[in-house]
Amino acid sequence: MAILCDADTRLLVQGMGRMGQFHARLSVEYGTSVVAAVHPGKGGTEIDGIPIFNGVREAVAATGANASVIFVPPSGAADAILEAADAELDLAVCITEGIPVLDMARAKRALEGSKTRLVGPNCPGVVTPEQCRIGIMPAQITKPGPVGVVSRSGTLTYEAVDQLSRLGIGQSTCLGIGGDPVIGTSFVDALALFEDDPETVAVVMIGEIGGSAEEEAAEFIQSNMSKPVAAFIAGQNAPPGKRMGHAGAIIAGGKGRASDKIAALEAAGVAVSASPAEVGETLAKHAGLGR
């Protein structure tokens, strides 16, 4: 089961530059079916045995691809996202960092009513352990199991996954939803998917300063979730008004503080780890998992 991707996923790559090729290769090594890549103008050729097409529709028609990973540079990324939606893929995972927020606000609106779920942009992707790797995560640190992991950050996802795996707790699916202000899949969306997934018994959620996605997640957890959730919020000591690496990680106008997010999550019954080093243990205790 798991969410978003599994052993049946047929992945296509949009943007076969250096990074796209490198991670396509790693995904293949992990056992993912990478069936096609799109590189306008290079249709009919092959890279590492992966057939190249000029457009997403054409690639889907020829290979039955149902998910896409996008490595297209920022100026063309919104276009790539909407091309994936036009081809009615189930899933488009956009890794690209640095897309203008206006492009994303419009693309997000244009995706409404489409069949395609967008994850990202500015995210590390999705891994369902031992089944499918989409994006740039070091999948070797994951192991199959019952915990869903969802995070706004890349490396902090790895940190949480590593802590779980070291405790002998595996993951159903790990996903990074991205550090930008406008993203395709929110915490609430991911939590709803985990709640409905029979193989997920508990969830780790890694938030950070900026915006109100964690507060919205707290509301959702309070009223809609039966599964235990443990969380960590990064940036507890970040100065206001400073962008902390991610475009979306900024305390602006007195909003988006870690303390408010932690309070909202705790009020919703979430076990919030005070230390980033104890996310795994916090989940283990809260959900009664682990050795």
Binding site: M19, P74, S75, G98, P100, V101, L102, D103, A105, R106, K108, R109, P124, I136, M137, P138, I141, S151, R152, S153, G154, T155, L156, T157, Y158, E159, D162, G179, P181, V182, I206, E208, I209, G210, G211, S212, E216, F232, A234, G235, Q236, N237, A238, P239, G241, K242, R243, M244, G245, H246, A247, G248, A249, G253, G254, A274, S275, P276, A277, E278
Partner: protein
Amino acid sequence: MNVHEYQAKALLAEYGVAVPEGELAGTPAEAEAAARRLGGAVVVVKAQIHAGGRGKGGGIKLAQSPAEAQQAASEILGMTLVTHQTGPEGKQVRKVYVEAGSDIARELYLAITLDRATECFAIIASTEGGMDIEAVAAKTPDRIRTVFVDPVAGLMPYQIRQIGFGLGLDDEQVVLLDAFLGGLFRLYVEKDCSLVEINPLVVTADGELFALDGKLQFDDNALYRHPEIAALRDPEEEDPRERAAAEIDLAYVGLDGDIGCMVNGAGLAMATLDMIQHCGGSPANFLDAGGSADKEKVKEAFALILGDENVKAILVNIFGGIVRCDMIAEGVIAAASELGIEVPLVVRLQGTKAAEGRKLLAESGLDITPADTLGEAGERAVAAAAAATGAA
């Protein structure tokens, strides 16, 4: 990216938004001449720095004549202006903007920004102009009206009417607002702004509308398609280390502690600061070396961290996904031998090629404290900084 008020006003004028006439001046004599050209009557001399609250700090002065304008400019130019937004160190004033005085009947507030919850543009209007909008939101939230604009459909005339009549404007002024707000919105969208704030928006005794102050912020991610906006950047207004970091494509934010940090990934970098504080220490900086960190970049990052004289210890925390830990280790070794790192160094390497990286460090002969987990890394860095402080 932020710009100065005079630059913002030039852009506002370009988009048909009414602003008072004004001129930039770099010397008191230029200020006097500007005041004369503006008609010789009342002018306002305004310090040009990237921070609000200039009036309270003595950076905005009224002048009744060109001679007074010269006097005001001589007082403001060169001063270190401290406001609630500059931090205690303040900012040095290098230019003033000399602006024709306005006959103010009412002061209103108008801003456009992206609302992350609805993913729409929010137009925020308030009858309480000239005040900090956060204070208004806290004390009198009923005096703020927010209208959400669909990013595809754009700003609709009914929304302008809602805002105008909501602000208590009469029908003629609502017509003026149509051009004013319409211009603001076009500017916001066409130039990829992240904030347009007019505070105050002035209604004159004659019923005209003017942007008395204007603040524009731009989406850094969109500057590539607006070279004319990127050219407005004033490096003097930026923190020198943040600027140096940006030039080598590192995300850096200076803090006031004593543990220098080098981390890959924004989330892990934030969590590393949290870890240090959780262990009772204090971080000197946020630094995300990014996904493409290699030997050269690590060396540059070290140089940046060591440029902060408060740094008593350095914590390197790398969780390799794309980044390879062996390349990070090579960078650490190169930095240590070439830059002469004299502060204690705690290094944690995890993920891709971590074992190879640790081996390189262990065989380098350098005095490096290794750490396996994030918790260990935090504890050891805090202990190292405390020991260094005690020894000094």
